[in-house]
């Protein structure tokens, strides 16, 4: 009726936008306008018109069109027969609705390279994703670079995308779908201004609400926002108002990240909160048995366990355990968790009692059951007992910390301290064989020429030598004077020129093996060639021989 002319009162109390600056939340909305057609169609056939059709209300209608088809005048929802009449030689394929969802899910996982917080766009008929990039953009050199990189990577795969970043989910979504450009960065704190000019459809309103807006002559978000909320609510219902407030940052909205749910999970709900840790430990033991049975049935072994204890007041306490080799042995899993629970007991606050225990094998791998050796006429081969060692590693690393239990690895380097490293047992391959591909036996130094113990860092020593290029005569290390009785050397080790970043001290080293009058043997070196590289030579202690 004409009585509802949009009459804009001059002084409408506009709610101040929620202060977004302190939280600094930044949301990226990505919209793929031609998602279905682009993921189904191979990239090289993009130029030809291509449509996806589906059965709808008894007729075949277009579900998705690519850019070329759009240029020919085809649109989504058009009857397939009409489209055929318009463009006879187009390529048609029937749509499987599962494609789009599966591909979008895959894409969401991939986007976790930018931020851990990636959620699906809940709006129907829209293929898009939402990313919470708060505190992540600087890792990519700022928002502009991050989004450019994102868009470039999509374009390389032949996927059209519209990207917008703003302070709220609503405004980011609006700018991505209705914005003037395919890449929009709304300045922080001013996201609401950017959406004001957009049509009401940008507020993620349902179809009928959009129609009503059109009929009322409300052609922009600003026109809607200018109305008092109460009258808007009366006319449109609460939902569009909520969307409006979410876009303007006056109402909160959550982004649900799509985290792959762990497949192997055991949950224990207790009727009554428990406070004793030993009861929790024994419950955990039972849960481990159930979990192990599930894992075993699937032929899987856990490589990471997560136990979450939820208290009655919804406080959560989590602990996680990593395993060196996949395991589905209940006893082993229970023992690892018991160790961690025991350690947790110092800082554990049961509060009003733990109500829910949730044990998940968040990472799993196939368990390879070793075949029993065939002993017909042969001597039994002694296979390395990987599983036995792995359970030892888990227990040691569980108590001492994963960085403490290590295995030596060898790298292809001439610089002695770079040639050998230690790697945590969880990171190193259990067999310990395949890690020294870069090291050929020809370049490996003679073992006798290397010290059994190498100092964590070379320590400067005071040396008296007869000539600057010669072996030392006596030296002082850690305030003890050593008279050199015998010396062997020098073994000259030149700096490696091939690494791109020049090492901190890139001087030639002359190593000497020296023995003092007591028989103690040391590995010392002179840093820099006298007269050629440096005018003042410095000496360092680098290791001790047995």
């Amino acid at each position: 009726m004409p009585q509802s002319t949009p009459h804009v009162p001059p002084q409408v109390p506009v709610l101040p936008a929620l202060d977004t600056a302190p939280t600094g939340r930044r949301i990226v909305a990505i919209w793929f306008p031609h998602w279905l057609s682009e993921i189904v169609m191979p990239a090289e056939k993009r130029d030809a018109p291509f449509v996806l059709a589906e059965h709808q209300r008894g007729t075949q209608r277009l579900a998705a069109v690519n850019i070329a088809a759009e240029a020919c005048g085809l649109y989504t929802g058009m009857a397939l027969a009409d489209a055929r009449a318009l463009v006879p030689d187009m390529h048609i394929e029937m749509l499987d609705p599962a494609w789009g969802v599966a591909a979008l899910d895959k894409c969401a996982r991939w986007l976790r390279r930018y931020t851990p917080w990636v959620g699906a766009d809940t709006h129907p008929d829209s293929h898009g994703l939402l990313l919470d990039i708060s505190g992540c953009a600087h890792l990519f050199g700022g928002e502009r670079r991050m989004l450019d990189d994102m868009r470039a990577r999509f374009n390389r795969r032949g996927i059209t995308c519209c990207i917008a970043v703003a302070d709220t989910i609503g405004s980011a979504w609006a700018l991505a779908h209705y914005g003037p450009d395919s890449l929009i960065i709304a300045p922080s704190g001013h996201g609401a201004d950017a959406v004001m000019d957009l049509p009401p459809g940008a507020l993620r309103l349902p179809e009928d609400a959009c129609d009503l807006c059109r009929r009322l002559g409300l052609d922009s978000v600003a026109a809607l926002a200018a109305f008092p909320r109460t009258s808007l609510t009366r006319r449109f219902g609460p939902y569009p108002v909520m969307r409006l407030e979410q876009a303007l940052g006056q109402a909160g909205e959550m982004l649900n990240p799509c985290v792959p749910a762990p497949e192997f999970i055991v949950r224990e709900n207790l009727a009554q909160g428990i406070t004793q840790l030993d009861v929790i430990a024994s419950l955990t033991q039972n849960m481990c048995a159930t979990l192990a049975a599930k894992l075993f049935a699937a032929g899987q072994g856990a490589t990471r366990l997560d136990l979450v204890l939820t208290r009655a007041d919804n406080e959560m306490q989590a602990l996680s355990v990593r395993l060196a080799a996949p395991s589905a042995e209940a006893d082993h899993l229970a023992r690892l968790l018991a160790t961690r629970l025991e350690r947790m007991s110092r800082g554990f606050d049961a509060g009003c009692g733990v109500e829910t225990l949730c044990l998940a094998a968040s990472a799993t791998a196939d368990v390879i059951t070793p075949q029993a050796p065939l002993t017909l006429g042969h001597k039994a081969f002694k296979a390395p007992p990987v599983a036995v060692l792995a359970s030892l590693f888990d227990r040691l690393a569980g108590r001492l910390g994963p960085q403490v239990v290590v295995r030596p690895v060898v790298h292809a380097s001439h610089i002695p301290e770079h040639a050998v490293g230690y790697r945590p047992v969880h990171a190193a391959p259990l067999s310990g064989e395949a890690d020294d591909a870069g090291l050929s036996t020809a370049t490996a130094p003679e073992p006798q020429t290397r010290p059994l113990f190498m100092l964590c860092a070379p320590e400067p020593i005071e040396v008296i030598a007869e000539i600057p290029e010669g072996a030392p005569y006596r030296f002082r290390w850690r305030r003890v004077l050593h008279e050199v009785a015998r010396a062997q050397g020098p073994e000259r080790i030149s700096p490696e020129w091939w690494p791109s970043a020049r090492r901190h001290n890139s001087l030639t080293r002359d190593y000497f093996r020296v023995e003092d009058r007591n028989g103690c043997r040391f590995w010392i070196y002179r840093d820099g060639l006298y007269g050629r590289e440096t005018g003042r030579v410095r000496w360092f202690m680098h290791g001790v021989f047995p």
């Binding site: 960085q403 403490v404 239990v405 030596p408």
Partner: protein, 257 residues
């Protein structure tokens, strides 16, 4: 008369039985349990089977402050003998890491180990290390455990516990102690004192040998040359390196007595 004879017979049987029990308490290796030390002259002294007890705690201490590396070298050499290709778990206290650094993987063949064997616990407190040692001793895939501590030794109770654990599982523990730590008394099966000697050699003294039928001469000592100067050692020939033939005992001289 007959009764007296019977009683005497009974007494003899009881004594025999007790002796048998005692022998079990005393840590005497049987033929299968004796592992040669790799040095002929030393093995000759280790009666009755010319080897060290596999399920025992072997303590190796440095004679002076600077001799820790030599003691560790001797300990690693024994560990290689014990492990015989199986995994070796070595643990180092934080202090010892700070003082001497960590074992250098490329030099391990000089003591008869290969780096694939080694599992290292890199710097922990002694109580944690003792716990880890006991765990490692219980693992069937482990051939030997080496524990290196510079200034602090496990007290008598702890070492007794470890010694019994070794005996129970039949796996050895080599305890390498610095000169300061070596003063404490432990329940070790054997105790060796090592000092570096000129010309790339060690001075080895056997200070204690529990459960031996024939006691070693007090303060039995040797000067040991663990390497010939030109001994080709690479990963492939490691197992050869540890055989007694290729390890020469240059001179055998008893110090003291």
């Amino acid at each position: 008369m007959r009764e007296k004879k019977y009683q005497a017979e009974q007494r003899r049987l009881t004594v025999n039985r007790l002796r048998h029990k005692l022998r079990k308490f005393e840590l005497v290796p049987t033929a299968g349990e004796a592992v040669p030390s790799g040095f002929e002259a030393i093995d000759a002294c280790l009666s009755p089977h010319h080897g060290l007890l596999r399920g025992g705690l072997h303590e190796i201490c440095a004679a002076k402050t600077g001799d820790f590396a030599s003691a560790a070298g001797f300990g690693a050499h024994l560990a290689a003998q014990f492990a015989d290709g199986n995994a070796v778990v070595s643990g180092q206290t934080r202090q010892s890491v700070g003082e001497h650094g960590r074992p250098y993987a490329l030099a391990l063949p000089t003591v008869g180990l290969i780096r694939q064997q080694l599992i290292h616990i890199n710097g922990a407190d002694l109580p944690d290390l003792l716990w880890a040692t006991e765990e490692a001793l219980g693992c069937p895939a482990v051939g030997c455990v080496v524990l290196m501590s510079l200034e602090q030794a496990p007290d008598f109770t702890a070492s007794r516990r470890l010694s019994m654990a070794c005996r129970a599982v039949g796996r050895p523990l080599v305890l390498v102690l610095g000169a300061e730590a070596g003063q404490a008394s432990t329940a070790a099966t054997t105790r060796w004192q090592i000092s570096a000697a000129p010309h790339n050699s060690w001075q080895v003294r056997l200070q204690r040998l529990r459960g031996s039928f024939k006691r070693p001469p007090p303060m039995a000592g040797w000067q040991v040359f663990p390497w010939r100067e030109t001994l080709p050692v690479s990963d492939d020939t490691v197992s050869d390196n540890t055989t007694p033939e290729s390890v020469s005992v240059h001179a055998t001289a008893a110090y003291g007595s």
